[in-house]
Subunit: 282 residues, 2 copies
Amino acid sequence: MFHGLSAFPLTPLKAGKFDEQTFINLLRPLVDAGVDSLGVLGSTGSYAYLTVEERTHITRCAVEHANDIPVMVSIGALRLDDILRLAEHAQKAGASSVLMAPVSYQRLTTDEVYSLYETVTRQLSVPLCVYDNPATTGFEFSDELMFAVAALPNIGSVKMGRMPEDVSQVRARLPKTVTLGISGDWRAASALQAGFDVWYSVVGGLFPRAALAIAHSEDGTESERLAPLWALFRRYGSLRVMAAAAEMLGKVEAPALPFPLQAIQGEPREALAAILAELKLA
Amino acid sequence: MFHGLSAFPLTPLKAGKFDEQTFINLLRPLVDAGVDSLGVLGSTGSYAYLTVEERTHITRCAVEHANDIPVMVSIGALRLDDILRLAEHAQKAGASSVLMAPVSYQRLTTDEVYSLYETVTRQLSVPLCVYDNPATTGFEFSDELMFAVAALPNIGSVKMGRMPEDVSQVRARLPKTVTLGISGDWRAASALQAGFDVWYSVVGGLFPRAALAIAHSEDGTESERLAPLWALFRRYGSLRVMAAAAEMLGKVEAPALPFPLQAIQGEPREALAAILAELKLA
């Protein structure tokens, strides 16, 4: 399942609670467009803000409406017992794979991160995608650590938050069973052209056809078209931008994000409205 | 309550669960030494890793054993409804004040942080200490934001993670009812000499007499004596160092920290053993 376009939908809230029907409505166009996988409850899906019970319920709902498209869900949490419960529930709910970042309050050490993946992968029956996201975890994988973790059992993919200088060298040091994934939508086209296998995509969670066009494009033009959107992603965070887009397009009720997180407002929101009108994304 | 020495004890775990008797044993020397307040469930008390229910139970236990020393507890959490529940439970349990950092997964914006404090302080009946801890939250308060938050109702103190260039200027811009607190034990002596009111102390949570000696010292010599310990704090994080100290002194069972966090091991642990033997802290 770790190839092509993995689309990461929002998890819409309504008065602070999971809004199930709106979530199902967000999944439908992804399924219809034929994305390669669904990345449910990723950072874009606000997993860190939801309880184990909410996440289990949302996973079940996603699998039920995925129409056999493989579903990946994040099991990241601060505490090991929560991670293991999330993994068990995800597997029972029919998730095809799980995603895990080294979530922290006290920023983790290299040894702690390795121990965490070692402990968790030992107990999995589905493959895990290693999630390097320094912006949210405060932890940046060294190449050495990433290769060591990738060599653990049950690792299916790595989701890198940066472009390595030499992709073929990274590939050569990864086990053959582990695919190479990129996050950060603005660098996806370059990464896919450089030989990455999979794009873990935020924009694809709301505009799957635009993301598929980028993924299938042989040059960078489809991605360049979205440059104004990428600029907003980089400045305000893709989550706050996509939440505003979904609100403005009537796809979710405002506020869709867990307080105190806020969709972009004011000037950047107006800029986004103009971009959406211009690009006519779908 | 926001003056002098506020001692932050560890929250010891045993097989991943709160170890109540060991916690009570950690509180006793703090009460006997006469610290000015207890900062229970701070970062040193692993609050972010514990459930609302565990935190409520620990708060009750602390108040019961504090012998009328005021107890401050952290109500920080990712989600507003958890924060409000924690605040309500803390107040009911008899906490004298609450502490809150802008905890995040998605790093917060200035507007989001202000909204968060505005919303939470509106619902408090005890004063709140504003907790600036960029290392754990990824968010650094600007002076402007700190002054704006400090002017909200029910703010009692600010816990600054850095030394301002001009303390008297900071003081002049804070409401008169808001005390100025320092964290980062290595800078506490200088901060108190520069006119800070309160030291939110990690070392004081295990070695209250050593911390009181620093707080009462008219020059920096008592703090300088602990320079080798401060060096370990800065390099490995005070939590991992204090957990190792408590383990080595038989005050808590190893591992006392929530996995994957680990007390320092190997060479730094040996260095710590030598420091403890040399300094004979109490």
